[in-house]
Symmetry: C2
Subunit: 414 residues, 2 copies
């Protein structure tokens, strides 16, 4: 049994884990650009060319020599001869000379000679071949220069970056059709406990269904990993140790969620204690729910023994396993992935013991600027408390509870 005194803080446990993951090598694979969505870049992408590839007009109007427009106004317009036209998607033919201009559409290539674009709205047609310019434009006006969006040889996206829709757009614009991304780590998901049966089976009296297995597999998928369902294993030492060994050999990460009985917990502890080098790393943390978490590593494979209670298992997953899966993919942390983002007003008092981190599930109501967070209470075995929640907040070790009306920072489930 774990005494409070032997436990370490969540932060210390995270640091021990991070330190041991420092040398892990990211394995990668090449996929078609469009399949790169939501994957992690395994290498920096340097722009192979200028974007845009040529000077483009950002307006419909006339490509001019800016000096020809200086001093122009509605009362004192400049007159220019329309000596050519730029067609979309075609190279302009000819050169703009002093006193002349080319008609140009938005996105059209700036013709030789021209150094500015007068907006259509600042021109008045005189006849087919002449216009009045009613405003002065500076050199470079209404032009996007070649390479202004991104320059050739400039880093476009960093290794470890999560590919979002806009990133796919940028890479398409650069003509990059394949990307090297991290392989999703395979994560073995094992459920133990003599009382547990597969959720797809008939349930004999006294047994309960395996709900942690499918929930953890889904969490693995959300974190970017590939869950490998190892089913339900009984609390038999020989059988359990064999499955763990096998899972370590075949996967990048192993998680098991223990049964709730003493025997089941003892077995989990033994399994982590007997791992090869570096072995047992964390044996219980100052956390509620989630205190009895076990973390170990054999070679480069992290092994997590999660508590059997569904709520505790999910909390431990968010705090320890999800960051590990991201590290195994070389993911750079970003604001949107790792931070509590929503500020809300707590609707009731919540107690918490000093020296322990509490993770409290909340339901959010209200709108921008006036969110309210109501704790979803329930025994840690209550699965429905998780399904009713929109997210959670953390009461730090050095804080004894939170009072109603306090503004808290909520991590949202998405």
């Amino acid at each position: 049994m774990l005494g409070r005194s032997a436990l370490i803080s969540v932060q210390s446990a995270q640091k021990i884990l991070t330190d041991h993951l420092a040398d892990v090598t990211v394995t990668s694979e090449t996929v078609a650009l469009i399949d790169g969505l939501d994957r992690i870049l395994a290498e920096e992408i340097v722009s192979p060319e200028n974007l845009p590839p040529f000077d483009r007009s950002t307006m419909d109007g006339f490509a001019v020599i800016a000096a020809d427009t200086y001093g122009a106004s509605s009362s004192m317009p400049a007159y220019l001869n329309v000596t050519g036209e730029v067609e979309m998607g075609k190279l302009p033919s000819g050169t703009v000379v002093r006193g002349g201009c080319f008609r140009i559409p938005t996105g059209g290539i700036i013709p030789d000679g021209a150094d500015g674009v007068v907006m259509l709205e600042q021109s008045v047609p005189i006849d087919e071949t002449m216009i009045e310019i009613t405003a002065s434009v500076a050199a470079g006006a209404n032009i996007m220069r070649a390479g202004e969006d991104i320059r050739k040889e400039q880093p476009a996206l960093a290794a470890g970056h999560l590919l979002r829709p806009q990133d796919i757009g940028l890479l398409a614009a650069l003509g990059i059709t394949q990307v090297r991304v991290a392989k999703p780590p395979t994560v073995a998901v094992i459920s133990t406990g003599d009382e547990i049966v597969a959720y797809t089976s008939e349930v004999p009296p006294g047994k309960i269904r395996n709900s942690n297995g499918p929930a953890l597999a889904a969490l693995v998928r959300r974190a970017g990993g590939r869950p490998v369902d190892c089913g339900v294993v009984s609390d038999d030492e020989t059988e359990f140790f064999a499955i763990i060994e096998q899972a370590i050999t075949a996967n990048d990460c192993v998680i098991f969620s223990g049964g709730s009985s003493v025997g089941s917990r003892d077995l989990g502890e033994k399994a982590v204690e007997r791992l090869g080098h570096p072995g047992l790393l964390v044996h219980g943390v100052q956390l509620k729910p989630g205190k009895p978490i076990l973390i170990g590593m054999q070679g480069a494979v992290p092994v997590f023994g999660l508590p059997g209670h569904p709520v505790s298992a999910q909390v431990c997953f968010e705090l320890f396993v999800a960051p590990t899966i991201k590290t195994l993919m070389g993911r750079a942390t970003s604001c949107s992935s790792a931070e509590p983002t929503l500020r809300a007003e707590l609707t009731r008092n919540i107690n918490s013991a000093a020296g322990r981190m509490d993770v409290v599930r909340v339901k959010i109501a209200g709108h921008e600027g006036s969110y309210k967070a109501s704790p979803v209470l329930g025994k840690s075995g209550a699965i429905s408390s998780l399904t009713q929640a929109d997210g959670y907040f953390i009461i730090a070790e050095n804080v004894q509870g939170c009072t109603a009306g306090t503004t808290i920072s909520v991590y949202l489930y998405r």
Copy 2:
């Protein structure tokens, strides 16, 4: 060309769209529970049974008759005979009688006769068959009652709910192996413009690659839809109208992003104007970037003409297309999906014209409680401004700009 006076507000446009989508029917399909992750429930799920299915102990200890413990303390313990043991996953045999108790593990079934559980920590073994109880327990103590997590016939999850990992866990616990979920709407993605070529092709001089197509396809996927790539179509009226017709017939939603030239824009307008009933709904909104958006509907199929500039196209997608895809799946809006969640301090002044909604992309720095948001500026044709941003904030129609130091609410890209 669109004059400011003819434009309507973003909110009005959203309302017109929502009203027209009110009668859309959600089509659904049945999938295995584990494949239900991130899908939208098409029907309410009512619990088929009690969870837990029986009264369970939440502690390791002894199942007792609470009255036998009344008044017990360390100095004045109660003595009980250990007359049985509950094994994990098995029905208890025998009944607890006055003066007796059964050993019970966490999760074990409460045996007949017992109405409370004494924690192991509040007992002292005398010998193999007798214990001291050092604290009084109330009836019901340390017991989770059958149905306490969720009762038989109680609604477990509502129609329109997005299935998250914890929801998968709950349904597994209830023995639900299949779920009826919304079919992902198929969304045709068409790119137009004489200057555009497929991003996988060679780029002749003067042309640029189709970056909106892949970016929009990725946005469709993120929103829960299934993108159907219709490639690049030239600004030829016959060809373009034929592709649009075909796309409407074969899909649940159609989006095209126009070329930047006047001709291309005119063609897009014509295409939406000639839609069958109810036809053109929105022709330009008071929005920057994104003003020239076109929204129409033919029968039950919404058609969106997005501006050609990548930034404008993505802004219009977030404001109009993403909510439409969610509506087509019957998704209930939730806090985590539809609200600006991060409060941050703006690092510089941003101007905005009155009467127009401005969407400003920002990069986030800092940590909880002190986030800073720096606008990522760039011409709306600049794709890199999107890839550098972590999210965006909105300057409302009735506000003229934001000054540095203001606290803003940011919608995070994930």
